[in-house]
C-alpha cells in the first residue's frame, strides 16, 4: 500500500488559497497539493489523465473518489466532512472546517482515478500533518482580583485575567485552592460552559454559593471552604492552554489570609469624591468604603448634567477601593455625576441594593434591582 507522509508548516497568517504542501505520487505525473484558507482547506489532485471522464460522473460517484480521514484512527472513525468537485484540471476535496495542527490527515484517492500511474491494486494514501508556527509570547496570568491579601471568610468570587485568549473546558482542573500543602476539596461552582468574558481573557471563579450561604446543605455538611484566621493560596497551573494551544509561561499563585465574614453592604453615603479642577483633565476620584468588585467598578460611568456619557479612561487602584476617571476632554465648570449601579457588589456579594443574605422581614423591594446611585461633583 502506497502511503506517503508529508509534514508542512502552517503559518497562522497563511494567505487564503496559498499552497502549503505539494507531493508527487511516486514517479507519476500525479501530484497532490494542499492549499489552506481561513475557513477550510483544499486537497487538489493534479495531473490526472481522466478529467473528461470524471466530469461526466454522477454526483454520488464523484463524492466517493477522494476521502480525507484523521490519522491515525484507533477505531473506525467517519471521514472528514467536505466535498469533492472538479476545479478546471484538478480533482479537489474541500474540507468543511479548517485544518487542525493536533491531527494528521490521510487522503485516500480511488485508484481508478490514477489510471495505472501507481499500483492500482491499492488505494493511494498520503498523510499530511500541520505544524502551527507559534506566534507571540506564551500567555500568562496578568492579575487575580481581588488584589487584597486579606479577604473575608465569605468571599464570593475571583477574577483571573490572562494576557491572551484561553481555551474553555479545563479551568476547574487548573485552579487549586490550597491551605499549605492541602488542597481544599470542591470549593468552587463548576459550570460546563465556564464563566468567561467574550474574549476568553477573563475568567470568573465563583466560590460554591452552597458552601457560603447559611442554612443550605453544602454549608451544613462541609462548612465554609475557608475560615477566619487561616492562610490560603489560589494556585493556577501552568498547563492551562491558550486558544493558540500554548501553555502558560509560568504558574501563578495568590496567597492571602482570611478575616471575619463581611455581612455589611457598601454604603454610597460613605464614599468620598475628590473633585478635579475645571478646564483640566485631572482625574475625578471616588474613594470607597471597602473593596468592591473589579469588573463592576469598570462599568461605573460619568455623565454630564444633561445625562450625556463623558468619554475617558477608568483606573481602579488601592486594592479596588479607589476609582478614578480621566476625561478625554477638559472638565467644564458645571455639574457632573458619577453613576454607579446599585447592583455593584463588595467581595462577599453584598450590593448597594441588598446584602448577600437578608432576613425575610426586611422589605423586599418590589421593583427590580436596576437603579443607580449618582454621586455629584462640580469642577471649579
Amino acid at each position: 500500500m502506497l502511503c506517503l507522509s508529508i509534514s508542512f508548516t502552517f503559518a497562522e497568517d497563511t494567505a487564503g488559497g496559498s499552497s502549503v504542501a505539494r507531493q508527487q505520487l511516486g514517479d507519476s505525473p500525479v501530484h497532490v497539493e494542499l492549499r489552506c484558507g481561513a475557513g477550510s482547506a483544499m486537497f487538489a489532485v493534479q495531473g490526472l489523465s481522466c478529467m473528461d471522464k470524471l466530469a461526466k460522473l454522477p454526483e454520488s460517484e464523484l463524492q466517493s473518489l477522494v476521502q480525507v480521514h484523521v490519522h491515525p484512527a484507533l477505531t473506525e472513525l467517519p471521514s472528514v466532512l467536505g466535498s469533492v468537485s472538479i476545479l478546471e484540471d484538478e480533482l479537489v476535496f474541500i474540507t468543511r472546517f479548517p485544518l487542525s495542527e493536533r491531527v494528521q490527515y490521510r487522503i485516500d484517492i480511488d485508484p481508478t482515478v490514477l489510471g495505472g500511474a501507481v499500483d492500482s491494486l491499492s488505494k493511494s494514501r498520503l498523510l499530511f500533518s500541520a505544524v502551527k508556527k507559534p506566534r507571540g509570547e506564551a500567555p500568562g496570568v496578568v492579575c487575580i482580583y481581588p488584589t487584597m491579601d486579606v479577604l473575608p471568610e465569605n468571599i464570593l468570587k475571583f477574577y483571573i485575567h490572562f494576557s491572551a485568549p484561553m481555551n474553555r473546558g479545563e479551568a476547574y482542573s487548573r485552579i487549586h485552592l490550597m491551605q499549605g500543602k492541602t488542597e481544599i476539596q470542591s470549593p468552587f461552582l463548576e459550570l460546563d460552559e465556564e464563566l468567561w468574558d467574550a474574549e476568553q481573557k477573563r475568567f470568573t471563579l465563583l466560590i460554591h454559593p452552597g458552601r457560603i450561604k447559611r442554612g443550605v446543605k453544602p454549608r451544613e455538611d462541609s462548612g465554609l471552604p475557608m475560615t477566619q484566621g487561616n492562610r490560603y493560596s489560589l494556585h493556577i497551573d501552568a498547563d492551562w492552554t491558550s486558544a493558540n494551544n500554548r501553555c502558560l509561561s509560568s504558574s501563578a499563585t495568590k496567597t492571602f489570609s482570611i478575616a471575619v465574614a463581611d455581612e455589611r453592604q457598601p454604603v454610597a453615603a460613605n464614599w468620598i469624591v475628590t473633585t478635579p479642577k475645571a478646564n483640566t483633565k485631572q482625574a475625578v476620584q471616588l474613594k470607597l468604603d471597602e473593596p468592591l468588585d473589579h469588573a463592576m467598578l469598570e462599568r461605573v460611568t460619568v455623565v454630564s448634567k444633561e445625562g450625556k456619557p463623558i468619554l475617558g479612561d477608568t483606573s481602579i487602584l488601592e486594592h479596588e477601593t479607589l476609582w478614578t476617571f480621566t476625561p478625554l476632554e477638559p472638565w467644564l465648570s458645571e455639574g457632573y455625576s458619577i453613576v454607579v449601579s446599585t447592583r455593584i457588589e463588595d467581595l462577599a456579594g453584598n450590593s448597594l441594593a441588598r446584602a448577600f443574605e437578608t432576613m425575610p422581614d426586611e422589605p423586599i423591594d418590589s421593583k427590580p434591582n436596576d437603579s443607580e446611585v449618582a454621586v455629584a461633583f462640580n469642577p471649579q
Binding site: 484523521v70 452552597g210 486558544a243 462599568r299 437578608t358
Partner: protein
C-alpha cells in the same frame, strides 16, 4: 386539561409584559450569526432553539425534521465525541459537546458542539439518528428567527466587554421560551421569558429568583437547570436546593422565591432534569455531577403540601429521592420517548450516547 391551564396561566401573567429586553425578529431566510451553540431545546414543528451566551440571544432554527415517528428508536453511539471530532477534522481534546436535545416529533437527537475551545471556536450542530449516523445540521441559509436576551446596554458599553450571562438552561412551554442565566459578574439569577414565535416586538419578562433558607435568610439564587411540571417550574439552584416556583409568580420585573422541596447537598451539581410518567406516578429524573442520576416521586399534591424545608437537613427532610446507582458520569440527559431516556455519559477522551429505560 392541565396543559391548557398552564397556557392560560402563562398568558394571563404575560398579558402586558414590560420587561427590559427586546426580541429581535420574526422569521427570515439566511445564515444566523450564531457565535456559540450552547443550550438546546425544541419548540413545536421541529424548530430547534439554540442558546448563544456570547451573542446573548436565543435562535429558533427550522430543522425541517417533522416526520412523526411511530416509535422513537434507541440511539446508542460509542465514542460520540471522537466521531464528531473526526467529522470535523479534529480530535476529541479540541472539541466540546455543549448540550443535546431530542426532537419529540421524530426521536432524532441534536447535539450542539464547539469545534475549537477558544473564543473563535466554530459553533456546530449535529443530528444523530437511530442508526447512529451523525450528520451536520447546516446553519447556512435556513429559516430562523432570533430573540435578544442582552442586558440593557450601558453608556460607553461599546468600548468594554459586555456583561454576559451563561445560559444554563432553556425550555419551551406553551407559547413561551424560558431561559435561565448566570451572570459572569454580579451574583444574580434571572429567569427570562420570551413570547414564541419571536415577533421582534414583545419584550422579554425578567424575574429575579431568590432562595429562602429555613424560612430565614434569603439570597439571590442562580438556576442551574429547570423543568416545567404542571403549573410549576421545578428548578435546581446552583447552591443545590431543589425548589418549586409557581408559574403564576413569574411576573415581569418582580422577584420571586422558590419553595425548597429537596436538598441535594454538597459535591452535587445538578446538570439536567426531566419529568416522566410510569404507571400513574410522575417522576423527576435528575443528572448530577457527583451522584449520577437521582429519581424523585412527584405529585402536585405532595409538592403543594410539602412544607418548605425549615429544619436542619439530615439527608431525609423534604421529598425523598433515590440514587440510580448504575448510572455514573452522566453529563447530559433528555427524554427520548415516554419509556426511554437518552444520556451522554463520560468525559473526554471518550463519551458515549446511551439509551436507557426510564427507571
Amino acid at each position: 386539561m392541565l396543559r391548557r391551564k398552564l397556557a392560560l396561566a402563562l398568558s394571563l401573567c404575560f398579558a402586558a409584559p414590560s420587561g427590559l429586553l427586546l426580541a429581535n425578529g420574526p422569521w427570515s431566510e439566511g445564515t444566523p450569526d450564531i457565535q456559540f451553540a450552547g443550550a438546546l431545546a425544541f419548540a413545536p414543528e421541529g424548530v430547534l432553539l439554540i442558546g448563544d451566551t456570547v451573542r446573548a440571544a436565543i435562535y429558533a432554527i427550522e430543522t425541517g425534521d417533522k416526520q412523526s415517528s411511530a416509535d422513537n428508536k434507541s440511539i446508542n453511539i460509542e465514542g460520540v465525541n471522537q466521531k464528531l471530532a473526526a467529522l470535523m477534522g479534529s480530535d476529541a481534546a479540541e472539541i466540546a459537546i455543549n448540550d443535546m436535545a431530542v426532537n419529540p416529533l421524530t426521536g432524532s437527537l441534536y447535539i450542539s458542539v464547539s469545534r475549537g475551545l477558544g473564543p473563535d471556536a466554530i459553533p456546530v450542530v449535529f443530528k444523530a439518528d437511530a442508526k447512529g449516523t451523525l450528520s451536520e445540521l447546516s446553519l447556512k441559509n435556513v429559516r430562523f428567527s432570533k430573540a435578544s436576551i442582552a442586558n440593557a446596554p450601558e453608556p460607553q458599553e461599546g468600548r468594554r466587554n459586555p456583561r454576559l450571562s451563561a445560559i444554563t438552561d432553556l425550555q419551551y412551554q406553551d407559547g413561551k421560551v424560558v431561559v435561565a442565566g448566570l451572570s459572569n459578574e454580579e451574583f444574580s439569577s434571572k429567569l427570562r421569558v420570551l413570547n414564541y414565535p419571536f415577533d421582534g416586538k414583545s419584550k422579554a419578562t425578567s424575574v429575579e429568583i431568590y432562595h429562602g433558607a429555613h424560612g430565614k435568610l434569603e439570597t439571590a439564587s442562580p438556576v442551574k437547570t429547570f423543568v416545567t411540571y404542571e403549573d410549576t417550574v421545578l428548578a435546581a439552584y446552583t447552591c443545590t436546593p431543589l425548589v418549586t416556583i409557581p408559574v403564576d409568580d413569574l411576573k415581569d420585573g418582580t422577584k420571586t422565591k422558590g419553595k425548597t422541596i429537596a436538598e441535594l447537598g454538597n459535591m452535587n451539581q445538578p446538570i439536567d432534569m426531566i419529568v416522566y410518567k410510569k404507571g400513574n406516578q410522575d417522576f423527576l429524573l435528575m443528572a448530577n455531577s457527583a451522584r449520577g442520576v437521582m429519581k424523585l416521586k412527584l405529585s402536585k399534591k405532595e409538592i403543594d403540601g410539602t412544607e418548605a424545608i425549615g429544619t436542619r437537613i439530615n439527608g431525609t427532610a423534604g421529598l425523598p429521592f433515590e440514587t440510580v446507582d448504575e448510572l455514573k458520569e452522566v453529563m447530559q440527559l433528555d427524554k427520548l420517548n415516554e419509556k426511554q431516556a437518552i444520556l451522554l455519559v463520560g468525559k473526554s477522551p471518550k463519551q458515549d450516547i446511551r439509551t436507557i429505560d426510564l427507571p
